[in-house]
Symmetry: C2
Subunit: 123 residues, 2 copies
Amino acid sequence: MNMQTRRRISYACPMRDVLDRIGDAWSLLVMLELMKGPCRFNALARVVDGVSRRMLTVTLRNLERDGLVSREVLPCSPPSVEYALTPLGGSLQSALEGLRDWAVAHQPEINAHRRSYDARELA
Amino acid sequence: MNMQTRRRISYACPMRDVLDRIGDAWSLLVMLELMKGPCRFNALARVVDGVSRRMLTVTLRNLERDGLVSREVLPCSPPSVEYALTPLGGSLQSALEGLRDWAVAHQPEINAHRRSYDARELA
DNA sequence: CGGTATCCTATCCGATACTG
DNA sequence: CAGTATCGGATAGGATACCG
């Protein structure tokens, strides 16, 4: 979906907003990490599997902009920046954990469906 | 994230899979619609705000492949195809509704954060 | 350590036209 | 009605290099 379409429908559909926010590749994973506690930039980069520093920066800025994550620069050298969930971000916790638990519980079943579907399609 | 990266990490991170599945632009909205009951193709196209027929087709195929949605061709003319949640798809219901309810409840607060952040950045 | 800036390509996806 | 096929512009995001 391009930006024109997105803007056109964003007022009509409240779900569109939450998807643009947490539906991207990394926001959800980053927030799940921060739910374990505050974390620094490079520590996040190591623990969020596969994220580039560029995308981690972009993701954190967006989460900060939405008020879901806070950013605190600690006055020391070398510089240290700590990210943490805000109360608003914390209010997402149970919903995200529900999603994660579903994902973990049903991953094998879904993969089985995929393999069987792919086998049918190739036949 | 490109496919090479995605494949490399997909085994290490179970959340990656669920995001590739429901994190795209339309899957979640389509499933929320189907939770109200079975629905036909063009009816879905009308009610899922902003979706093109192409993307609706792609989305439904992926959901079908994952075993989350079933597709039944009714033997009549003109052709009629009914989509419905499978039991596996239904098992996602409470998690998705939790997400949707959070989205609806906190949308005003998030938009306020955005406006205030943008105002600071422009200053 | 915690980022930015630039470049460049793979991918997404809407538009359009066509089919059974 | 319920799709599929193809095209092309827009965009996401990795790679790389650099900075306070």
